[in-house]
Symmetry: C2
């Protein structure tokens, strides 16, 4: 009486949807869900059951990038002072968002969806690690949490392509300064 798990074909469809999504994202500049469904050779109902929201799909497509970002946090902490580590991590975020352009917004949406569900999610955990280290040595203000930072980082979503280089890191620097403990 095990939960009567899964259906091999369902997993196949799921995989094919992700693959199709990658293809569409790579080739078209528009990301239309129904186009992805068609490309994958499934009905839209199938797509929407596997990925209830557009964000769910994109988050899955870019899961690896997210994992990389998450893994970077402890690594940076091992090498740098907490505030420096946080600064470097912000740099990574800027790099990621620069290349992945439109997708950043969607992934971010997925992240704070996690937050709404009272679970921080992987990115939130990574951030918490960085923030706690900074609080512990007194360089980060004690009244901030991962959620605050994710919200603040969200402003990158609005930065236009052609001003990215000029604005993104600059904005993150301002945020970082805001997070520092006031002397």
């Amino acid at each position: 009486m095990e939960p009567r798990h899964r259906r091999a074909d369902a997993a196949g469809n799921r995989a094919r949807i992700i693959q199709a999504a990658r293809a569409v994202i790579a080739n078209a500049d528009e990301i239309k869900l129904n186009a992805i469904a068609k490309e994958a050779g499934v009905g839209q109902g199938t797509l929407y059951r596997h990925f209830p929201t557009r964000e769910d799909l994109l988050a899955e497509v870019y899961r690896e990038d997210v994992e990389e970002l998450v893994a970077a946090a402890p690594a940076l902490l091992a090498e740098h002072q907490p505030v420096t580590a946080l600064a470097r991590w912000f740099d990574r975020v800027a790099d990621y968002a620069q290349v992945k352009r439109g997708v950043f917004a969607a992934v971010e949406a997925a992240v704070w969806q996690d937050l709404a569900a009272h679970s921080l999610g992987p990115i939130g955990d990574a951030l918490t690690t960085l923030l706690e280290a900074g609080k512990a040595d007194g360089t980060i203000r004690s009244d901030v949490d991962a959620r605050d930072v994710i919200l603040l980082i969200g402003c990158l979503t609005r930065v236009e392509e052609d001003e990215w280089d000029a604005k993104a890191r600059h904005l993150l620097r301002i945020v970082l300064d805001g997070l520092r403990r006031r002397p």
Copy 2:
């Protein structure tokens, strides 16, 4: 061969659309453009010609609030030190966004649409006034402009209703600290 101005009826329709928008916003919690058109007794084509985007319409509906916000800047500067004035102005923003809830996002969208058009727009001008005063007396970092701040403030858009009181001002405070000149 004067520009062959106007059409009295067009102005009337425009006014009726705004009125209808107010009604819909007040009564329904959903803001559907076609519902507004219907309420106003005009076709959707008419609505879309007068207000090409949803933001244009909402910005018009809340023009008064925006003007109030704009007017507050110089008034606050007359009474307080620049940083304090900026802090108070942020408070106003928080108040406004708290009451106008969903609309804040749209108005903000309209604002940075202005920015994209290389004109700061009224809000941008108000912010510039505040920032310049702060730079002049050395309390605000010199490398920020109104656009940066508008982008940063944009994070309020994502704050949920039920955590507004706890988060909004807190986030604005962090931003403000980020804007301060580092001692």
